[in-house]
């Protein structure tokens, strides 16, 4: 992927060490306090006003989506504060403090023949410290990338880890039996249609390098499992065996794991889509589905109905031992292991609803993150701090984002029609 935005550090991250401990997010226990940030309009008058306001709007949206920040509404910032300069000496920090604002993000936006240039400064109002100063440059049409980078840098400054505004979301969209796979930026822009089959499609999964897309499609009538080369638009691997093949996940950039339900037994396979090598991971009576591997590849988490209802199990691929992980309820499905390998997100039936839950790798400390409706297909962000999932409560299915502890639920809207089965890409 090519990035033409140049990010140049103007000043050093001299406050990086203090910044790291500002927000601590723990899904099991301690709460965290959101930080209030002000984003006064950028200075500079060479860029069109529409670009200016669109950039501010996107910055506010990105900071809100992060879940760590509350963006102060423009109405609380009086003209005097709004008009002050960008440098530390120009800023009346006590004025900002009196409004309850913890951080101030200021910027100077310029547009010339080369494109856009944004000098951005992040100050801590409590001590007037400059947390970072950066110059972002890009083409006129790259204002979204510039802002998303700034939003991610602000999240980095306060949490020690970059934000997710530069991530992409893979999802299925379409109504009835006419569905296809799409990928878009988290902010809804840069949407690309990956397939044009207009048929039922489930379980889309992009390989870690973004080269291959795997999915189950009904485009030949029966549901088959396909792997296509996204760039070249050609099929590289297909499983047309009888039965249901789905729940595909990438083990590495060449190998997929999936469940095959056919006849008396169900099987979890791991297939190399380039060499066509096949490895049998697990075979059992009844249903097996939704395999998910730990990063070290030593364990596979999956769903089985071996005890009469859908439950989540783990198989140690070293000693072959199988353990039941989900302990409460009669319906636990769609498990997925977090990137850090410390948590499993899954779906659990609770009363009349289906909730996104998390539990530790041994099945302990189960906790529900959603409240009502039919929620499904949880997937972690690559940093592990966010979960994206599909949600349906009466109306059409939609995609939502939340923090790992269930806070800050936000609707992500891409196509305007039915959307589901989301996953992060990078």
């Amino acid at each position: 992927m090519k990035f033409s935005v140049l990010a140049l550090t103007v000043c050093l991250f001299f406050a990086a060490s203090q910044a790291e401990a500002r927000v601590y997010l723990d899904v099991f226990g301690q709460s965290y306090k959101k930080i209030t940030i002000a984003t006064p309009p950028f200075k500079g008058d060479t860029a069109p006003a529409t670009t200016q306001s669109a950039m501010k709007q996107l910055l506010d949206k990105g900071l809100d989506l992060s879940g760590f920040l509350i963006v102060a509404p423009s109405s609380v910032i009086d003209a005097e504060l709004r008009s002050e300069g960008l440098e530390r000496k120009d800023i009346r920090f006590e004025g900002w403090r009196s409004l309850g604002i913890d951080l101030i993000c200021k910027g100077n936006l310029q547009q010339n023949a080369d494109g856009l240039s944004l000098d951005a400064f992040l100050y801590d109002s409590s001590d007037g410290m400059l947390l970072f100063a950066k110059k972002y440059k890009g083409g006129q049409d790259e204002w979204r990338k510039i802002i998303n980078r700034l939003a991610d840098d602000i999240v980095l400054a306060i949490t020690g880890e970059k934000g997710i505004m530069n991530s992409k979301i893979l999802f299925i969209s379409g109504g009835g039996r006419s569905r296809d796979a799409f990928i878009a930026s988290l902010d809804g822009s840069e949407m690309h249609r990956l397939t044009s089959y207009n048929r039922l499609m489930v379980s889309p999964a992009l390989s870690p390098d973004g080269r291959y897309l795997a999915f189950t499609s009904y485009r030949e009538g029966s549901p088959h499992l396909y792997v296509v080369d996204v760039q070249r638009g050609r099929e590289v691997w297909v499983n047309r065996e009888e039965g249901m093949k789905n729940g595909v996940t990438w083990v590495d950039s060449k190998r997929i794991a999936y469940a095959h339900v056919s006849g008396k037994y169900s099987t979890i396979y791991c297939d190399n889509v380039e060499t066509k090598e096949r490895r049998l991971i697990l075979r059992k009576d009844g249903i097996l589905t939704s395999p998910s591997f730990t990063k070290d590849g030593k364990k596979v988490i999956f769903v089985s109905d071996m005890y009469g209802s859908a439950q989540i199990f783990a198989k140690d691929l070293g000693n072959g031992e199988i353990r039941r992980l989900s302990r409460s309820g009669a319906y636990n499905t769609s498990p997925v292991v977090s990137p850090k390998g410390d948590l499993i997100a899954f779906v659990s039936r609770m009363g009349g609803s289906f909730e996104i839950c998390v539990m530790k790798m041994d099945g302990s400390e189960q906790r529900a993150l959603t409240n009502g409706g039919i929620n499904d297909s949880p997937r972690f962000s690559s940093c592990g701090r966010y979960i994206v999932y599909s949600s349906k409560n009466g109306g059409k299915g939609s995609i939502r984002l939340m923090l790992l502890n269930g806070d800050n639920k936000r609707l992500l809207n891409f196509t305007g029609s039915e959307e589901g089965q989301p996953s992060f890409f990078q």
């Binding site: 039996r177 489930v202 379980s203 549901p223 249901m244 789905n246 939704s290 289906f354 499904d376 009466g394």
Partner: protein
């Protein structure tokens, strides 16, 4: 398995009456409102239209089975003469059987209809059947895909035990992706948890 069967009888006994009552109530309600508010001429036109619609609906063979006039006569005769089950007309064969939530166990009261289907398939060797497995909207997409497959295969295995050649039975799961009944009621869900037979 036996447990599920016993439970299923009870469940069906409970939800069948409301499902018959509801359309009746709706029909009565709609008729009443028309009588109050509609001028005579318009009402006559509407009734003519409705009669046409009823006729149009009744020729849908898959839905109404042997209710067409010719077919009814034929059935009555075959029943009176005590013919074997195998001579049942194709239209009378079972098209949908239903399942409990998160279950792919066949219900005891569906077995006679499946036996009719099996016997008919054995007699009509050039026919084949596609069994679609469906689920209600609740639960996970992936698990329901597997569950739908199991439902279709449960019917297939039963037909096989009756002696129908496996090669003539195709199974396909649609999971919860193509519900036949909209809505978020137990009644709609029950209609969607089905194996649907397409006989060719």
């Amino acid at each position: 398995m036996p447990n599920t069967c016993v439970k299923s009888w009870a469940v069906r006994a409970l939800w069948l009456p409301p499902c018959l009552l509801l359309p009746l109530c709706l029909l009565m309600a709609s008729c009443a409102s028309k009588q109050v508010y509609m001028p005579v001429a318009e009402r006559a036109a509407l009734e003519r239209q409705e009669a046409q619609d009823r006729n149009a609906g009744s020729i849908e063979p898959g839905r109404w089975g042997g209710e067409g006039r010719g077919a009814v006569t034929e059935e009555d005769i075959s029943g009176a003469e005590g013919h074997s089950e195998g001579s049942t007309t194709m239209n009378r064969l079972v098209r949908d059987i239903y399942f409990d939530f998160d279950s792919y166990a066949l219900k005891g009261d569906d077995l006679p209809a499946l036996r009719d289907l099996g016997n008919w398939l054995k007699e009509n060797k050039r026919s084949s059947v596609t069994i679609e497995g469906h689920c209600d909207e609740r639960g996970s997409i992936e698990y329901n895909m597997a569950l739908g497959q199991k439902r279709a295969e449960a019917v297939r295995e039963y037909l096989r035990t009756l002696g129908v050649d496996r090669g003539r039975i195709k199974t396909i799961s649609y999971g919860k992706e193509t519900p036949i009944a909209p809505g978020r009621t137990e009644e709609a869900w029950a209609k969607n948890r089905r194996a649907h037979m397409i006989i060719e």
